[in-house]
Amino acid sequence: MFYRLSGIHHTRYESARALWPVTADRRIIQGLLLLALAAPFLLSDLYLTSYMLPWLIWTAAALSLTLLMGIAGQLHFGFAAVMAIGAYTSIHLTRAGVPFELALLGAGLMAALIGCLFGAAALRVKGLYLVMATLAMQYLVEWTIINVPAISGGAQATLSTPDVTFLFVPLQSDGALYYTALLWTVVVTLLIMNIKRSSFGRALVAVRDKDFAASVIGVNPLRYKLLAFFASSFLGGVTGAVLAFCYYQAVTPEQFGFNVSIQLVAMVLVGGLGSVIGAYLGAGFVLLLPIVLTNLLAFVAQFDLIPISFNLLSHIPLMVYGALIIGVILFEPLGLAKIYDNIRKYFLVWPFRHTQS
């Protein structure tokens, strides 16, 4: 109904491969980008800094992870540790006087280096065994950070981020923080979309689907598995640094614990493995839904219709949230992205059920 495809023809393969060849999709993206740019003027500070900002940064994190888990098919249950490496590296580098821009790069490289070290396990093992290897990374990194005072600043210490400027703009105001996070998320989004339609992305997909079949057609699985770990960990590391500077502004090891890793995996799974829009939806679902549910319940509780104990009140959102995750996975195993895709296609072929030609 909203999608008009007639008259779209291509005279070069480049334009046929464009990210959004359909006009309606382009309009949607343009509209969303405009809304995102105008958000600081439309939303109150509370909503901007405690809803929009974390949503964007966690989306970037989920995108980094989906490159590894969704596109390259390598399970990773210690991604929070990768982000922790990025966060701590960037703080120490800026404290040593390195400009923030270079510190971000250093954060990414350090995370990529250590990520690859553990990722090397993926060259030998698959599936559950890879989960074990990455879990080991999670605990080793956590242990190292806590127990080496040079990194954590001492046990139980909180390391606050120094004042920095990013591209000549001091990262002080809410607006500056928000736009930095937005810029990074847009960059990661475009990067992942382009990886998916490039030879690198297709090689990763080949490795994901069957690594020895990939090697038969000339894709070196060793190389591409390592590259996947490298690229994903690099993005994860930078995202960790952005998270520390733009959102937390003071980091402790607990912020990158095992439960955070699991949350990231949940974002990727609920959103849809390997999907870009799924990362946005998944991060929104995992991050914002509990808050929405709590607010909703508090609103209902006001009316005193049913006596609910305070204890129960704090647990109900968690129960509903768990049920929703199971529900989504049962209803659509391919995640929220697939649900979006179904709705889009429903309108794409309107008024028919399938494409006609």
């Binding site: 109904m1 008009r4 495809l5 007639s6 008259g7 779209i8 023809h9 291509h10 005279t11 070069r12 393969y13 046929a16 429903y346 072929v349 309107w350 008024p351 028919f352 059920r353 399938h354 006609q356 030609s357």
Partner: protein, 659 residues
């Protein structure tokens, strides 16, 4: 042809058409376009998924290079060049290159069998052929082996399967193009010289009548005929400048030459050529043309496709369609009757445009069509109303190859279902005393190719006898009834035109073809060919299992279905002309068996001969027949298949009421 003969022809033509300017010809139009609009897109061809574009400059350059190349092969004035293949830019370039050299392209349908092509080559003494691909090259080589020795050159467009192993006399158009370019480079005045050669009095194309009765006749059309026809039509607003046009209809059909070459050169169309015949519908959507021509059959197939698609669709979409579509059809019916819709109806129609009509037109690739046309035969009322209700200003043309198919068309302001419209400006039209339609204008040909008898029969005192029976309404609109020669009588003396009844039957989308019998018989009977797509879908929906076309056609349920359709037609026919009995044939009418022409018109004599036992059974009261079907395979061999066919009685609508 001898130079004196050519000169003599020129003089005769000058005397016949004093109004034509000598240097006003198709190639001049092309040169002007290349000069004034060099970088505008003239032609697009879909190749491996993307559209290759040619500007007017490219267009002229290729035509000139091919002309220079063709001349080295000895092609000269008056030579006839056979053109066989699906629409391809290189074939259009080649045709115009031949025209530049004052030779005459003579297109044939790509699926014509070798015997027919050989007959055409012998009649026109063809020495050079322009073909699409290896398939056609092989066909022509076969003809050479079969005894036609004069075919010196075969030029092919697609080198696949032929590269580096070209048979004797075969040459790739690409190589010819390179040869011509080299020549143009050597001889600096050659292009100028080539462009100055043609004259408006030259024959631009040699087309052929469909051959429903006997062998096809050659119909030469001159530059002047085509130009005046196109100009008349554009003056009346039937084409605009710069239309986006889809060239998907066979090159041997008059309409394609008129639209894709004639009108495109005069009015600078952007011509689009689909990748293959099978992808034409898909490619149509990618281009979304502004001018679209389809045969009534193509429009009705499109409607069937929509209906099948909607039946399979989900609940909400289906309900919306079934609400808005009948509403719009009713609105259109009343609009044609002269009743303007109310404001509320117009508003509701606009809602429907957003929800259903707009998306449907988008799906079909007709979203930008401003001038959709149909011609060739009668169009079903349902189909006509449906597309008009969608918001497409569908109109009908009436014309013959002999008058460039540009003769009569429905005007914008007054369209009615049964009339063909008013004559174009510059076309005079009258009805002879015995009811035949006569036309006179500058776009009527000057006589058949090497056939003075037929010419004398058709052209009398400057009036062209169309062979169609018709009459003029009071407001000057023409009503076409059918072929004069097709009027036949039953034994009781009832007069009828079989095509008229057949078309009524074919308006049902379950019936693909029908042949009405009844000449010198007691009553009418019909041979029915079911539409495998529509009936197949119906069978799926209704749980009727079938294996093949023959099997499906003989299912009792299908007979019941067809019986209803026949009874529906009977309801509007006079009592004496009711179809009493019919048979569902086990196969489609096939041009390879000679049962229909390439444009799918029935060859009644062949059908009478092929199905003689079945026809007998229709009149001797049997309820079934064992039929030995002779079938010819693509290799040319023939075999025999035994078929059991049922013969059904139709209880007429009135009879049923009486009982």
């Amino acid at each position: 042809m001898l130079p004196e003969k050519i000169h003599q022809n020129l003089e005769t033509s000058r005397a016949m058409h004093p109004g034509w300017q000598d240097k006003d010809h198709l190639i001049r139009q092309l040169v002007n376009n290349a000069r004034d609009h060099a970088d505008q897109i003239a032609l697009r061809e879909r190749d491996r998924g993307i559209w290759q574009e040619y500007t007017w400059r490219d267009y002229l350059e290729r035509v000139m290079a091919l002309a220079a190349g063709l001349e080295t092969l000895g092609v000269g004035p008056g030579d006839r060049i056979l053109v066989v293949g699906d629409n391809r830019p290189a074939l259009y370039f080649g045709m115009l290159a031949a025209v530049t050299l004052r030779a005459v392209p003579s297109p044939a349908y790509p699926d014509t069998n070798p015997q027919e092509i050989q007959a055409q080559m012998e009649a026109e003494s063809i020495r050079c052929a322009l073909v699409e691909d290896q398939e056609q090259v092989d066909k022509l080589l076969g003809i050479r082996v079969a005894g036609y020795g004069h075919l010196d050159h075969i030029l092919f467009d697609d080198p696949r399967g032929l590269k580096d192993k070209e048979p004797r006399g075969a040459l790739a158009l690409g190589d010819l193009l390179a040869r011509g370019r080299a020549r143009l480079e050597r001889e600096s005045n050659l292009a100028q010289d080539l462009q100055s050669r043609p004259s408006v009095h030259d024959t631009a194309v040699l087309l052929h009548s469909s051959g429903t009765t006997g062998a096809p006749k050659g119909i030469p059309l001159k530059h002047g005929h085509i130009l005046s026809g196109v100009r008349n039509a554009s003056q009346a607003g039937y084409f605009r400048e710069g239309e986006v046009h889809m060239a998907y209809l066979p090159m041997a059909w008059v309409g394609d030459f008129i639209f894709t070459i004639g009108a495109a050169l005069v009015l600078r169309f952007c011509v689009n050529i689909p990748e293959r015949q099978e992808t034409a519908l898909h490619d149509l959507r990618e281009i979304a043309p502004t001018l679209y021509f389809g045969s009534p059959r193509a429009w009705s197939n499109m409607l069937t496709r929509i209906q099948v698609g909607i039946n399979e669709s989900t609940g909400l979409k289906r309900r919306l369609y079934h609400h808005f579509m009948p509403f719009a059809v009713e609105l259109e019916r009343r609009r044609l009757a002269g009743q303007a819709p109310t404001a509320a109806e117009r508003f509701w129609r606009a809602v429907g445009e957003v929800l259903i009509f707009g998306p449907l037109k988008d799906q079909l690739g007709l979203a930008r069509v401003e001038r959709p046309y149909t011609a060739g035969e009668a169009m079903g009322e349902d189909v006509f109303l449906f597309f008009r209700a969608l918001g497409l200003n569908l109109r009908q043309f009436y014309g013959q190859t002999e008058n460039c198919a540009l003769c009569v068309a429905q005007p914008l302001d007054s369209i009615s279902l049964h009339t063909a419209g008013r004559p174009f400006p510059g076309v005079a039209l009258k009805i002879s005393d015995d009811g035949e339609i006569l036309v006179r204008s500058d776009n009527i040909f000057d006589g058949y190719f090497n056939n003075p008898e037929a010419t004398a029969e058709t052209l009398q005192d400057g009036w062209m006898h169309t062979g169609d029976a018709g009459y003029l309404e009071e407001d000057g609109q023409l009503v076409v009834l059918g072929r004069v020669s097709e009027v036949v009588h039953t034994r009781a003396g009832e007069r009828f035109i079989p095509t008229y009844v057949e078309n009524r039957l074919k308006f049902s989308h379950y019936i693909k073809d029908a042949c009405i019998l009844g000449k010198d018989r007691d009553y009418l009977a019909a041979l029915i060919v079911i539409d495998i797509d529509a009936v197949g879908h119906w069978a799926e929906e209704n749980g009727v299992a079938y294996t093949s076309f023959a099997d499906l056609s003989q299912k009792p349920q299908v007979y019941e279905l067809v019986r209803k359709e026949v009874a529906h037609v009977n309801a509007v026919l006079p009592d004496a002309l009711e179809i009493r009995r019919f048979v569902n044939l086990h196969k489609e009418f096939d041009p390879d068996d000679g049962e229909v022409t390439r444009t799918r018109k029935l060859r009644r004599k062949v059908i009478d001969a092929h199905y003689a036992p079945i026809i007998e059974s229709l009149y001797d009261g049997r309820s079934a027949i064992e039929f030995e079907a002779r079938i010819s395979y693509e290799t040319g061999e023939s075999g025999i298949l035994k078929r059991h066919l049922a013969v059904a009685d139709v209880v007429g609508a009135r009879l049923a009421e009486e009982v």
